[in-house]
């Protein structure tokens, strides 16, 4: 058998993600204003907040899809903003799921799952296929291996996207509003897959508007507004008994 997950490079004491004094500006627009944030190994952290609060930008800074303007981002103890860091290597350990799925439309589902395994992890075709099929089974889409993305529903596409990320055997998963582009009746299947992952102990950072998911699955909820972390804590505290006026205002609108 193939080992399911690679051993984490750090010890359990090292946070999976540690962000310090992170600032990000787009032109004159200050999106992140000095964020301190961390995700421990095995922890599920849900980031909530109004649109424009900077939560997606924070998530995209973690694998450097966005270049931080200042501050540090450590992944398993490695500073990813350091020019000497092997960014591609780090990224194979950080699975990412996008709001718009971003499956490769010209490739079959199976090829979507094996491409990066072969090109970035240098796995052989047979091994890559085996791992891909195992992850497709995990998200309940074994029968869709030969289908193309356009033939799938939004919910199925997002589950394929999750399976694609999992096929790299990542140490952690980033979810950027994974259900926001889905029809309401398709949200449940995707959330179910994410819950399963959380139960298996996957480290997860989830930017979401699904308060039910945050309450049920999250170990910690972080509320962001205006480019800062306003408050964080256990889901029942932040969602049930918010301490800040801005949190209360936001929750009154979405709950």
């Amino acid at each position: 058998m193939i080992p399911v997950a690679q051993p984490a490079s750090g010890t359990a004491a090292v946070p999976a993600i540690e962000v310090r004094a992170l600032c990000k500006t787009f032109g004159s627009n200050e999106v992140l204003k000095g964020i301190d944030f961390h995700v421990d190994q095995g922890e599920v952290v849900c980031v909530i907040g109004p649109s424009g609060s900077g939560k997606s930008t924070l998530l995209r800074c973690v694998n450097r899809l966005e270049e931080p303007t200042s501050g540090t981002v450590m992944v398993e103890g490695v500073d990813i903003t350091d020019e000497e860091t092997d960014l591609d290597g780090i990224r194979t350990r950080i699975g990412m799921v996008f709001q718009q799925f971003n499956l490769f439309p010209h490739l079959s589902v199976l090829k979507n799952l094996t491409l990066a395994q072969q090109r970035a992890k240098k796995r052989g075709k047979a091994k890559a296929t085996q791992i891909a099929l195992r992850n497709l089974e995990k998200v309940g889409l074994s029968e869709k291996a030969e289908a193309f993305p356009a033939q799938l529903s939004g919910g199925q596409q997002q589950r394929v996207a999750i399976a694609r990320a999992l096929s790299m055997d990542p140490d952690m998963m980033l979810f950027d509003e994974p259900t926001s582009a889905l029809d309401p009746e398709l949200v449940g299947d995707v959330l179910e897959v994410m819950k399963q992952l959380a139960r298996e102990g996957m480290t997860m950072m989830v930017v979401t508007h699904e308060m039910g998911f945050a309450r049920e699955v999250g170990d910690r909820v972080v509320f962001m507004d205006g480019g800062v972390v306003v408050e964080q804590g256990k889901p029942e505290d932040v969602l049930g008994n918010p301490q800040h006026e801005r949190t209360r205002l936001f929750l009154s609108k979405v709950l």
Binding site: N63, L65, D88, G89, I90, R91, T92, I94, M96, F98, Q100, N102, L103, F104, P105, H106, L115, A116, R119, A120, K121, A150, A161, R164, A165, M168
Partner: protein, 261 residues
């Protein structure tokens, strides 16, 4: 006058004018002369089989060489124009703007006559080869812009997905961006191919050996030796035999692309 009456009257005038022109052409044209000069069966038959086995074949071969060469250099120039390295962008921009701005005829002259005189160097393949180099260069400038537009039309999320999986920029370009870009630009590229088929006729000014002649050169020579325009008509029909299926293909691809979106 009522609106409907006025409309009928206008249409009636238009039809009458059309009928008058047709009638005039039929009566005024010298059909015998047209037939003997443009549609002389004996002259037409005499152009075969060389007009197909040499001329049409060469047209197709030259087009293929110029298109493949144009694609390779065009791809290189498109990638250079999108490169983060500034001098590469400059070079590609200069190349593209220069050769899109010059008449193909002038570039062909340059390689067929100016370069050999200036550098005592003859391109391989004689004058036909020299003309082909010019065609490759000119077509690559157009194709480069088409490919660049195709690459930029691939959604940014595709690159982000590939990079977030740990794929490096080169593999991302080769396995994710380019396959989608070429799908997007298939119709304009096919158009480019059709234009190239016709542009091979410009090679005629390079002055070509007997066996190297393409359709237009061949027909021009036959026109001179036979003092009859029929070879031009045969060449014209052969061009249509080559280009019409391609233009139909473009139309089909465009319909298909529209459906897919």
């Amino acid at each position: 006058m009522k609106r409907s009456t006025r409309r009928r009257l206008t249409q009636g005038v238009l039809y009458a004018a059309f009928a008058a022109v047709v009638l005039f052409v039929i009566l005024a044209a010298d059909w015998g002369k047209i037939q003997s000069n443009f549609f002389d069966l004996d002259v037409a038959v005499a152009t075969f089989p060389e007009i197909v086995s040499i001329a049409a074949k060469n047209t197709v071969v030259y087009t293929a060489i110029a298109f493949v060469g144009g694609l390779l250099i065009g791809l290189l120039m498109a990638l250079m124009k999108l490169s983060p390295v500034l001098p590469y962008r400059w070079l590609a921009t200069a190349y593209i703007e220069l050769f899109r701005g010059l008449p193909a005829l002038l570039v062909i002259f340059g390689f067929a006559y100016a370069v050999p005189i200036a550098f005592q160097w003859r391109p391989p393949g004689g004058n036909a080869g020299a003309g082909l180099i010019a065609l490759i260069i000119v077509s690559s400038a157009y194709i480069a812009e088409t490919i660049r537009a195709g690459i930029e039309a691939v959604p940014k999320g595709q690159v982000e997905a590939a990079r977030s999986l740990g794929m490096n920029p080169a593999w991302t370009m080769i396995t994710v961006v380019l396959p989608q870009a070429f799908r997007i630009i298939t119709p304009p590229l096919t158009n480019e191919l059709v234009i190239l088929i016709k542009d091979t006729s410009l090679l005629f000014i390079a002055g070509m050996a007997i066996g190297d002649r393409e359709l237009t050169t061949f027909a021009r020579d036959a026109l001179t030796s036979q003092a009859n325009a029929t070879p031009l008509v045969v060449a014209a029909l052969l061009y249509l035999v080559i280009t019409l299926p391609l233009t139909q293909l473009v139309a089909k691809l465009e319909r298909h692309n529209k459906r897919g979106r």
